[in-house]
């Protein structure tokens, strides 16, 4: 029952592994037959119903919808370029030691990618025509929201955590109340509340742009989780460091930015990467407001009469996308963490 050093019974282990493989083969064989051998790769719903296996044609026909959603067909190069930029940003962080060895540079790369792809999707009315935010949908929206959530919620979370740790009593109480309330309420409820109330309180630039309203709610909800992830590291930080920095004559701002923040981020790096993964996963919550990101687009496309019996193919594709993106996030995070530990 425990990891007590048992006798080396490797033969038993080998037999167990063989039985496991055999079971796996028996279980996966019908799946492979369904997914590969009997599958129909092209055609329409009629040819799919005639075949016995999976209907990859349904995914192929819906692929553009899954990625771009309702974005105008002639302007789809813009979300495409945005996705490429965001992918390149992650790749650059992973590949270039000059970037992943410096935390601030990694953050700036993500920030630049977010700003660039936001500009590409939104347009500015001068160089690129404006596209209403209702139409930004599909996978490009998922990635944009995840990048935006990280870029904006992380600094806010840092501010909250520092306010809770170093502020005067009033700031401590305010930040504490905010963090605890945001963590007690489900993110889907807070985001909905902000989505509904924002038009009454905010100027029309934000109030009429649905993406910005959703991003606002997302950032306000997620920043509390970032703050909570940083709290443990802030509590364990040695006070002597601050005193040493003060005796060197550093200003308060540079003590926080150059001494405390880098150490705290590295100390709580695994927890922060978990929150990043959570931010990416929580982008799907907006489908409950009828705003289609990747999962919402998949859900909408299987909810039609024609394709309703081919839901599993769509869900398999979405699952693989989430699996791949989650692995990408962990790989990039591990690269940053390893490069910091080597120094």
């Amino acid at each position: 029952m425990t990891s007590f050093p048992a006798r080396s019974n490797s033969r038993v282990h080998r037999i167990g592994f063989l039985i496991f493989l055999a079971l796996l083969a028996v279980l996966l064989q019908p799946f492979f037959r369904w997914a590969l051998l009997d599958a129909s790769w092209s055609g329409d719903a009629e040819t799919c119903r005639a075949g016995a296996g999976a209907c990859w044609a349904s995914v192929r026909l819906r692929l553009e919808f899954l990625i771009y959603g309702f974005y105008p067909a002639e302007l789809r190069w813009r979300p495409f370029t945005g996705l490429i930029i965001q992918g390149l940003a992650l790749l650059a962080i992973w590949a270039l030691p000059g970037i992943h060895q410096r935390l601030s540079r990694s953050y700036c790369v993500v920030l630049a990618a977010f700003v660039a792809s936001f500009w590409l999707l939104a347009g500015d009315g001068l160089l690129l025509t404006d596209v209403p935010s209702r139409l930004w949908t599909g996978f490009s929206l998922t990635v944009l929201l995840a990048f935006g959530g990280f870029v904006l919620a992380f600094p806010l979370g840092v501010l909250l955590a520092f306010g809770r740790r170093f502020g005067n009593d009033y700031v401590v109480a305010l930040c504490g109340c905010y963090i605890e309330v945001m963590r007690a309420l489900p993110s889907v409820v807070t985001m909905f509340a902000i989505l509904v109330i924002a038009p009454y309180l905010l100027p029309s630039v934000i109030g009429e742009n649905i993406f910005l309203r959703i991003l606002l709610g997302f950032v306000l909800a997620m920043s509390a989780f970032y703050a909570e992830a940083l709290r443990g590291a802030l509590l364990t930080l040695d006070k002597g460091q601050i005193e040493a920095a003060q005796s060197l004559g550093l200003r308060r701002f540079s003590i926080h930015c150059r001494i405390i923040l880098p150490q705290v981020v590295i100390l709580s790096f695994p927890a922060l990467m978990n929150i990043n993964l959570m931010v990416f996963k929580d982008t799907v919550l907006i489908l409950t407001y009828g705003y289609y990101e990747l999962l919402g687009a998949a859900n909408a496309s299987v909810n039609t009469q024609e394709w309703s019996s081919f839901a599993m193919e769509m869900f398999l594709v979405v699952y693989l996308v989430f699996l791949g993106a989650g692995m990408l996030i962990s790989v990039v995070g591990r690269r940053i963490e390893e490069s910091r530990q080597r120094v």
């Binding site: 029952m1 425990t2 409820v189 509904v196 799907v284």
Partner: protein, 348 residues
């Protein structure tokens, strides 16, 4: 005024400001006015002429039911999978890693929708597959037999079994044997006490039987399997955190492997794992609000329904916020209480 008092003052002021804002904007009569909502309730009865407040109460009970069952099932599955991960057998550890890895990178909403669509693809009630003619699984949900109390002969037999079981309790048997025997006894007593009436299959539905709707089934199953992965990680970490020296000492004392687990490892691992497990339970309770995506009648969906039917945003949102703050407060009180008790018991 010391710093603790000042922080308390800010909190009190915040709460007071919020309360005044709500009092100014909320019309209390709204809660008692007739709602006219048509919602499908699982636990409590519902009538459209009842007030908004009772609609919220019905929905809150639905949320609680889904959350509590999901918590229970997630614990059972998760502890089992997590214990597989601590075995010496590499295959068992691989199974644990595969399970956790399969759920780690996907959102819980995805799993809920997936289970819902799997349920929709099941056959209709007329062609529903069954288990021994008692339990039916169709695209409307799960139908269980109705239970009636059995006749006097069966009841007296059950009492006899109970008496024999209690008499045998003092016999010196190993703990594992005692566990299996008592489980068997309980099952036998339950089987004797109740008569099951098989559900009648009709053309468009079931004429009798206890019906659990598909939405509830998909939500609880998805939450259970998804959060079982988290509980499995917590269990694995907690069992791994028990010092090897303690277990070696138990081994040297001659404790059998099951006794070693039951008397040494499990109590210590419980102390390590309980705070994080309770945190996961809170997440499960919050995640029940995702049932809105598949049309399960929980608090968030009823709040949105009444918001769109009455146009009162602040009233509905504040009531919903109150519910979640209550749940969170209760669970944090439980965490603090348990932590304090465990610490005083063995000075850890």
């Amino acid at each position: 005024m010391n710093s603790f008092q000042r922080q308390g003052l800010v909190c009190v002021l915040l709460v007071a400001a919020l309360a005044i804002c709500l009092m100014l904007s909320v019309e209390p009569g709204f809660y008692l006015s007739a709602s006219g909502l048509t919602i499908s309730s699982l636990v409590l009865p519902w009538d459209p002429s009842w007030s908004y407040l009772s609609a919220f109460a019905v929905a809150a009970v639905n949320s609680l039911a889904a959350g509590l069952i999901a918590m229970l099932l997630a614990t059972l599955i998760g502890v089992g999978i997590g214990m597989l991960g601590t075995l010496a057998n590499p295959t068992a550890r691989l199974v644990c890693q595969l399970y956790v890895g399969a759920f780690r990178n996907v959102p819980v909403l995805f799993v809920i929708l997936l289970f819902y669509f799997v349920g929709i693809l099941l056959p209709s009630p007329a062609k529903a597959p069954d288990l021994m003619g008692l339990v039916f699984l169709s695209n409307r949900g799960l139908v269980l037999p109705e239970l009636h109390l059995a006749g006097t002969t069966s009841l007296s037999l059950a009492a006899l079994v109970l008496a024999v079981g209690l008499a045998m309790w003092r016999l010196p048997v190993p703990a594992l044997g005692r566990l299996c025997a008592s489980l068997g006894c309980v099952l036998l007593i339950l089987w004797l006490c109740f008569d099951a009436e098989a559900p009648q299959q009709g053309k468009f539905g079931f004429r009798s039987g206890f019906e659990i709707p598909l939405e509830f089934l998909a939500l609880t199953a998805a939450l259970s399997f998804y959060y079982a992965a988290e509980i499995a990680e917590i269990t694995r970490g907690a069992i791994g955190a028990v010092g090897t020296g303690i277990i070696e000492a138990a081994h040297a004392l001659g404790l059998h492997s099951f006794d070693r687990f039951r008397k040494i490892t499990a109590p210590l691992a419980l102390r390590f794992g309980l705070p994080s497990a309770l945190n996961t339970y809170l997440v499960v309770m919050k995640a029940t609000s995702l049932g809105v995506a598949i049309g399960y009648t929980e608090l968030f969906s009823v709040a949105r329904l009444s918001m769109s039917s009455s146009g009162r945003i602040v009233e509905c949102l504040s009531l919903m916020g109150l519910y979640f703050l209550l749940i969170c407060g209760t669970l944090s009180l439980v965490v603090n209480h348990i932590n304090a008790r465990l610490r005083t018991q063995d000075g850890q």
